[in-house]
């Protein structure tokens, strides 16, 4: 009964003691604010990662060689060569392959107009560009024929090109030097996701054979550091990966149980790992938020006990004119719930505000990431519900005490 009246009374009470109410709600505000923040930031990070990875292509398996062959085999025994790549491409077990990027990478220094720049040189076939979703923003990438001829052509990544030449266009046709060898800038492609990963990347691409011919130390010639195998959309990744490994072991004459030799990563796995890490962080923050909510709830209980004491006469009067114990109980439960819900709403608005601010800051620092702010309706609903339940839970004892007051004693209370 009279729910609207109770809510109105509660809000009146709250507004009459704004400062006190705010301090009381602080625990709830912090608890709910952190729940909202971690859920929203988690979702924002996930969306960002997803957008980066889908741009990168999720239907790619990366395989590297760890060199851990066990005690009786030499480490240099196993590595990929271009012949292996050809064998994989032609395998009847792996018809889903749409391209293989076969990378030989080394760190070096690029010189232009008297300036030196640290670069990661990525020697690869022309497949590198399609497999990694790298598209020319200026000029063009090298062709299969040019790669096969070991042309001294080079393709730069966008940010690096802008760093050296101001704009991507200006880089085209320029001659740069790496380790004393001159290269002709053929084109500029978009940056790799996450700016090229933790290695931090001024990535430059040259044909694999060019890398062997001019830059690789003699013992590295014909060795491939890692391969990226792109497979057709709709392929079941786990099964494909198993068959791929089986074929690689067959080609490399390895025993079937020598899985340690390879480092295998598909990007779906990467997403799964991120999901797990995110979940762990979210659970951890949820635990802290729970503590904050408990502390906040005890604060609410405390203030409600004080309120019941202060308003003993009012309770006596209400009972004298016919309020039953249940009506008084409900009235004070609603007051506690209104208090925590208002605290929850402040927490939600504050948490979302901080998230928005964080997104703006990150976007200001890393403009090319273009992180999108997202609202998580589930988190907002959950936060509202939890804050209301906190009020009802911790308001129960004070409300019960209020409802048990004897009307005569309550009316005479001084």
């Amino acid at each position: 009964m009279m729910l609207a009246t109770h809510i109105q009374t509660s809000i009146k009470q709250l507004l009459a003691n704004k400062g006190k109410a705010f301090l009381t709600m602080l625990g709830i505000i912090i608890g709910i604010g952190s729940v909202i923040m971690i859920m929203t930031l988690g979702e924002i990070a996930k969306q960002f990662l997803l957008s980066q990875i889908t741009q990168f292509g999720t239907n790619v398996v990366e395989i590297g060689i760890t060199g851990e062959l066990g005690p009786f085999q030499s480490q240099t025994d196993v590595y990929f060569t271009l012949d292996d790549i050809k064998a994989l491409e032609q395998s009847s077990l792996l018809t889903e392959i749409t391209g293989i990027s076969s990378a030989y990478t080394l760190s070096s220094t690029l010189e232009y107009a008297g300036d030196s720049h640290a670069v990661s040189v990525w020697g690869d076939t022309e497949a590198a560009f399609s497999v990694n979703n790298l598209n020319p923003v200026a000029g063009r990438v090298y062709t299969a024929a040019e790669a096969d001829r070991a042309d001294r052509s080079i393709v730069l990544t966008e940010r690096f090109a802008e760093e050296v030449f101001d704009t991507a266009i200006k880089a085209i046709g320029k001659t740069i030097r790496i380790n004393g060898t001159s290269f002709n800038v053929l084109g500029v492609v978009n940056d790799l996701p996450f700016g090229g990963g933790p290695i931090g990347g001024n990535y430059v691409f040259i044909p694999l054979k060019t890398a062997y011919a001019y830059l690789a130390p003699s013992e590295d010639v014909n060795k491939i550091t890692f391969i990226l195998v792109e497979f057709a959309e709709g392929t079941e990744p786990a099964g494909f990966q198993d068959r791929l490994l089986f074929e690689i072991k067959r080609i490399k004459h390895l025993d079937n149980d020598q899985d340690d030799v390879f480092f295998v990563a598909n990007r779906q796995q990467f997403l799964d790992i991120f999901d797990n890490v995110l979940l762990a962080i979210q659970l951890f923050v949820a635990a802290i938020a729970a503590i904050s909510l408990i502390v906040g709830g005890i604060g609410i209980m405390n203030i409600m006990l004080v309120t019941v004491k202060e308003r003993t006469k009012e309770i006596g009067l209400r009972k004298a004119v016919g309020a039953k114990n249940r009506s008084i109980l409900i009235q004070f439960l609603i007051e506690a719930a209104v208090l925590t819900t208002v605290g929850g709403i402040i927490g939600i608005v504050g948490g979302l505000g901080l998230c928005y601010l964080a997104v703006m800051v990150v976007n200001a620092v890393q403009p090319d990431w273009q992180i999108q702010f997202v609202l998580v309706p589930l988190a907002i609903g959950l936060a509202c519900g939890v804050s209301m339940l906190t009020g009802i839970g911790f308001g129960l004892y004070p409300a019960w005490k209020a409802s048990r007051l004897h009307p005569i004693e309550a009316l005479r209370y001084e």
Binding site: M2, A320, V321, K324, N325, S327
Partner: protein, 233 residues
């Protein structure tokens, strides 16, 4: 809701026989009301009087369903009241009684209108209707132009008028007044007593607790208590 048929003119509205109330202070029994017989007829205006500790307040609390007696019987409007559970007494207070207190007991930060309407909300009357009825009664007690004032914007006499309006809002069978002028100056006291007398002349049954002779003079019958017993009725 209790069944409460309006009594005929001759039937007693309240009849109590050998009513007692004993409070316990640890193991010590304090007999506040010791076997009281009293009959109140419809339309009567009774003043309950007696020195402090005489049991007049306890008796009023028992008559007004604010407390349960230790023994004895209580007929209200012909019904023998045997159920003294908190919920049932709350229903009785809400439906057949009105209260005027010495300290007014108005809700702060709440308009006169909503203060008067309060008992009806516990009856389950819709707020809009309750407010209409409350406005009607504020008009009756002479505060038609003060309906949206809050208690702190009203004088003591005006506050007591609001509380009288609140006591009448459910059209009670009996109006209980506990020292209704105890917090008011002489002039205002006279005004309030004139209002209560007017209600009596309109046929309301009124039971008033007071210790002041000049206030008791407004009543038509005095019930004098001493040591928990009626000494003069």
């Amino acid at each position: 809701m209790p069944t409460s048929p309006r009594p005929s003119k001759t039937e007693a509205i309240i009849r109590i026989t050998t009513l007692t109330k004993t409070y316990w202070n640890g193991a010590v029994a304090i007999p506040a009301v010791q076997g009281v017989d009293l009959t109140v007829r419809p339309g009567e205006f009774i003043a309950l009087m007696g020195p402090s500790g005489s049991g007049k307040s306890t008796l009023m609390n028992l008559l007004a369903f604010l407390d349960a007696p230790s023994s004895g019987s209580y007929w209200f409007a012909g019904n023998n009241i045997t159920d003294f559970s908190e919920d049932y007494l709350a229903d009785l207070r809400n439906s057949v009684l009105g209260f005027v207190f010495q300290q007014f007991h108005l809700l702060p930060r709440t308009t006169a209108l909503d203060n008067v309407a309060l008992p009806l909300l516990y009856t389950g009357v819709k707020r809009k209707q309750a407010r209409l009825r409350a406005a009607e009664l504020l008009q009756k007690v002479g505060l038609g132009d003060r309906v949206y004032h809050r208690p702190n914007e009203l004088s003591g006499g005006q506050q007591q008028r609001v509380s009288i309006a609140r006591a009448l809002v459910n059209n009670p069978m009996v109006l209980f007044c506990d020292e209704p002028t105890g917090n008011l100056d002489t002039k205002t006291s006279g005004d309030i007593m004139k209002l209560i007398s007017q209600l009596h002349h309109e046929g309301k049954t009124i039971i008033m607790v007071t210790h002041a002779e000049e206030i008791a003079d407004y009543a038509e019958r005095r019930v004098q208590l001493r040591d928990g017993k009626i000494v003069q009725s």
